[in-house]
Amino acid sequence: MNDTEGIVAHIPPLRRYARALTGDHSAAEDLVQDTLERAWRRFGLWRRGSDLRAWLFTIMHNVFVNQVKSAQNRRKQDADSAEIKSPVAPPPEDRLDLRDLNKALRRLSDEQREVVLLIGLEQMSYDEAAKILGLPVGTVMSRLSRGREQLRLLMNRGGATTQLKVVK
């Protein structure tokens, strides 16, 4: 397998991660597009033999952080322009916990969501996640622990509210 095929092989997980991270189909496709654009442009800088997956996810992380920042700036500068969001298509299974988790994920901070997804979904090691996010492993661990716990509480609470409504 040559190097460019190597990049292509990582596109599906990059795309899955982007979808889970943004929760928005077109935002996710933009994120992948921008990441690949940058990756192809900087491919000459990738050191052969080093971890290509980590390199690509690092680029995606940087692009994501920049996009979030510039979106915040845009919102500040132009409060009137409403952003049009195309929601992710509902998953095939209509099970409650699926939708709840997706909703709960949106309530996490970007920082916690990144860690929970890199480790829980992309099955990165703690060291890999730390490298990709440019953080000490300890920070990754505390974000993971807090993120998972918050998801659990959000889902419990979601369930409780539903039950209350049923009783009423």
């Binding site: 596109i11 899955r16 442009r41």
Partner: protein, 253 residues
């Protein structure tokens, strides 16, 4: 018999869940979980989160990859790249220059042109993957000697490692009135800055920093001892200024 709570940390629990815990410690955590049903329940909830994440998002893996994502061909970019943006600015700048031609004092107009040329050179060469420079930093001494000779001045490629920028190398370019040198730097994320230098600074021996935004490329430019410098990049203005200051200091130790 039951292990104390202290012996099993929060980190151990996550590592156990993620299959990252050393084999010999797994028994210890399992015993702890048996003794602490609440913790076991919590961990089971986390486990379910992971399963649900896969159920939610694994279908994305099977989506066909758009052909445009498969190749390094940069033409598929539908956005204005820095090159296009810089070219658009030449047109706008040209028109402006024409409109303002009566009002520009000779030198400042030339300096604006200088900044624009530096920005264009940056936009053209900084995205290069295979040939960003003519001579790489590995032959730094040769590079500096060569460019000094061609420009007829005493050039230096300041070292910016302390700011996180490594010298990539440099190249010779045609300027308005003769050869121009470009040194390229990049940080660990591949973000590039270029230092554009020409010798024909005219009568001015020194100027303050000036800033010009040319499309997505910001340029700080100044004159120092008959050499004109322009530092270009798509980094934030403060970052550029910080580097420009460092370049100036390093050239005037």
């Amino acid at each position: 018999m039951s292990p104390s709570k202290l012996s099993v940390s929060e980190i151990d629990l996550h590592a156990y869940l993620d299959g990252r815990l050393a084999e010999e410690r797994r028994g210890e955590v399992e015993a702890f979980l048996t003794a602490n049903p609440q913790e076991q329940e919590r961990l089971r909830a986390y486990q379910e989160q992971n399963q649900t994440l896969h159920a939610l998002f694994d279908s994305v893996l099977a989506e066909p990859i758009p052909p445009k994502w498969r190749t390094p061909d940069r033409r598929w970019s539908w956005r204005l790249g820095p090159v296009a943006a810089a070219l658009a600015w030449i047109v706008v700048g040209g028109a402006l220059g024409w409109l303002l031609r009566g009002e520009q004092a000779g030198n400042s107009g030339k300096n604006v042109d200088f900044a624009r040329r530096a920005a264009i050179a940056h936009a053209v060469y900084s995205p290069e993957v295979r040939h960003p420079v003519e001579v790489t930093a590995e032959q730094e001494e040769h590079l500096v000697r060569w460019l000094s000779k061609r420009l007829g001045g005493d050039l230096k490629a300041p070292h910016l490692m302390d700011l996180g920028y490594e010298l990539v190398g440099g190249r010779l370019l045609p300027g308005e009135q003769g050869p121009v040198a470009q040194f390229m730097y990049q940080d660990k994320n591949g973000q590039r800055l270029t230092l554009y230098i020409k010798t024909d600074a005219g009568a001015e021996r020194e100027t303050a920093f000036r800033f010009s935004q040319e499309g997505s490329v910001g340029v700080f430019y100044w004159i120092d001892r008959r050499l004109s410098y322009a530092l270009s990049g798509e980094a934030k203005k403060e970052e550029l200024l910080k580097v420009a200051n460092a370049v100036y200091r390093k050239l005037n130790p």
